[in-house]
């Protein structure tokens, strides 16, 4: 290999490392932001829940809502809406670009005979 090539490749590598370092710093900063936000949301969520309990106690018993989904199915629906598969095939995998999944929909809304 030519000596100049050697220098060039060192230069290239240095540049790549620098870029990597920048990226890392940026990622760390992003993570910190996300964590901060998360902490805020947790606190807010707690407040909201407290408030909800208060309101629920004030109100007389609500009539049954329009939704007929069971609690566990509602949980699955929530996960699906957050962008995760809840079906047997791809459970826990991310749904790319909010793609729809026929298996998940079956799990959430499908009729199922009780054993």
């Amino acid at each position: 290999m030519d000596k100049r090539d050697l220098y060039d490749s060192f230069g290239g590598m240095e540049q790549q490392m620098q870029q990597m370092l920048d990226k890392m710093a940026k990622l760390r900063a992003d993570m910190t932001t996300v964590l901060e936000k998360n902490a805020e949301l947790v606190i807010e969520n707690e407040h909201l829940r407290e408030r909800m309990v208060e309101i629920e106690n004030e109100l007389p018993k609500k009539p049954v809502g329009t939704t007929t989904l069971s609690k566990s199915r509602q949980n699955l629906e929530k996960l699906y809406d957050e962008g995760f598969h809840v079906c047997n095939q791809f459970y826990g995998k991310r749904r790319n670009d909010d793609e729809s999944c026929v298996f998940c929909l079956d799990v959430i809304y499908g009729e199922r005979e009780r054993p």
């Binding site: 909010d98 793609e99 026929v102 929909l105």
Partner: protein, 379 residues
């Protein structure tokens, strides 16, 4: 090994076999084409380890003008061999393997000598027992492939969904494919195969290649199965494909049995409207069109938009509309492909609710062909 043959008859078969030969294979000998010359016929074989195609050119058929002077086998580099054969000057050509694997191809004044490979190293084709045979009409089978293969997944991360699931039971042949976003299912009655019972998954890619080989002059396709291979016999040609291993998800329960809203409409009219709406939806990030059913004035409204470009609305008058008001969003590309598979037919679309999959069936014979599309949630 030495034979002389009519070039156009040979090219026709060569083209078929070449479908299986890939230049990107990791096994070098599979870039070659195997020629087996017997006293009464020559056999061409091509393979990419997933698909293998074998075809026989018999000497009895006078159109082939096949004259065998010496029997034998050779593997020739497929790409060069076919290009050479196609460019030869005369109507007939002679292939002669001299000493070793050097092969001489002559036609008129042109003479090529190319290096072949040892036929002993060529992998053996799977042996499939001939007792389990199902015979299908070529045109029906081709239609079935065309209708189901569209829903096959292209993502290698879901290997099992890259195939079409075939079930033969009680004289009924069922083909299902899904990529988890949409599903296509076709049934064919096969009363003569009443006691056969199969459950296999055939790679969609193999089926696409196979359907290209089913010409108008091949009325019947025979399907034979073994543990991990399927063989389709079309006249003198045998098409082998690997089967996909694993359990196909249960799809029978995915198809809704009831519906609250149904719309009957001409497939081409809806297809054209969806096509227009998708012009804009393709520009937006989530690529959906909204489909609103309005029973009070018996209309259907299709709406597509892209925040950057603009929006489109189109009102359609379906032939028939019953049930509740509904608003649903879906990926227009799935809809377009599904509609194309119906051709010119009148179709019935059945919805249950905005979040559940909906089905499309032809109004005639709605039992045997179903397309299912899942909606996209919009907030």
């Amino acid at each position: 090994m030495k034979f002389t043959i009519n070039r156009s008859a040979f090219i026709k078969e060569l083209n078929n076999v070449q479908r299986a030969i890939s230049s990107k294979t990791t096994i070098p000998i599979l870039t070659g084409l195997k020629l087996d010359v017997a006293s009464d016929a020559i056999t061409l074989t091509g393979s990419d380890a997933d698909i293998s195609i074998e075809t026989t050119i018999p000497a009895v058929d006078d159109n082939n003008t096949l004259v065998v002077e010496a029997e034998g086998s050779i593997v020739l580099p497929a790409r060069f061999f076919s290009e050479i054969v196609k460019k030869l000057p005369e109507d007939t050509m002679t292939v002669n393997v001299e000493d070793g694997f050097q092969t001489q191809i002559t036609s008129g004044a042109a003479s090529f000598t190319i290096n072949g490979l040892d036929p002993e190293n060529y992998p053996h084709l799977p042996e499939i027992d001939t007792t389990n045979t199902v015979t299908l009409a070529g045109d029906v089978f081709k239609e079935l492939i065309g209708q189901t293969v569209i829903a096959v997944s292209t993502q290698e991360s879901r290997p099992i969904l890259t195939g079409v699931h075939f079930i033969l039971k009680d004289g009924e042949f069922l083909a299902v494919a899904t990529d988890s976003h949409r599903l296509s299912q076709r049934k064919i009655k096969l009363p003569e195969a009443n006691n056969a019972d199969y459950d296999v998954i055939i790679p969609g890619k193999s089926l696409t290649e196979l359907s290209r080989m089913i010409g108008d002059n091949n009325p019947d396709v025979q399907m034979r199965l073994s543990e991990n291979q399927v063989l389709f016999v079309l006249g003198n040609t045998s098409f082998y494909s690997r089967l996909l291993e694993g359990n196909y998800p249960d799809t029978s329960r995915l198809i809704p049995k009831e519906s609250s809203t149904t719309v009957e409409i001409e497939a081409p009219a809806l297809s054209a409207a969806i096509e227009r709406a998708s012009l804009l939806s393709h520009e937006s990030r989530n690529n959906v069109v909204r489909f609103s059913v309005n029973p009070s004035d018996k209309t259907v409204t299709i709406f597509g938009n892209s925040p950057d470009v603009g929006e489109v609305t189109e009102q359609l008058q379906p032939a028939e509309l019953t049930g509740d008001e509904l608003e649903i969003s879906f990926n227009p590309d799935y809809m377009k492909e599904a509609l194309r598979s119906f051709g010119q037919a009148m179709i019935r679309i059945s919805f249950t609710m905005a979040l559940r999959p909906f089905t499309l069936v032809p109004t005639e014979d709605g039992e045997n062909f179903i397309q299912l599309i899942t909606p996209v949630r919009t907030f």
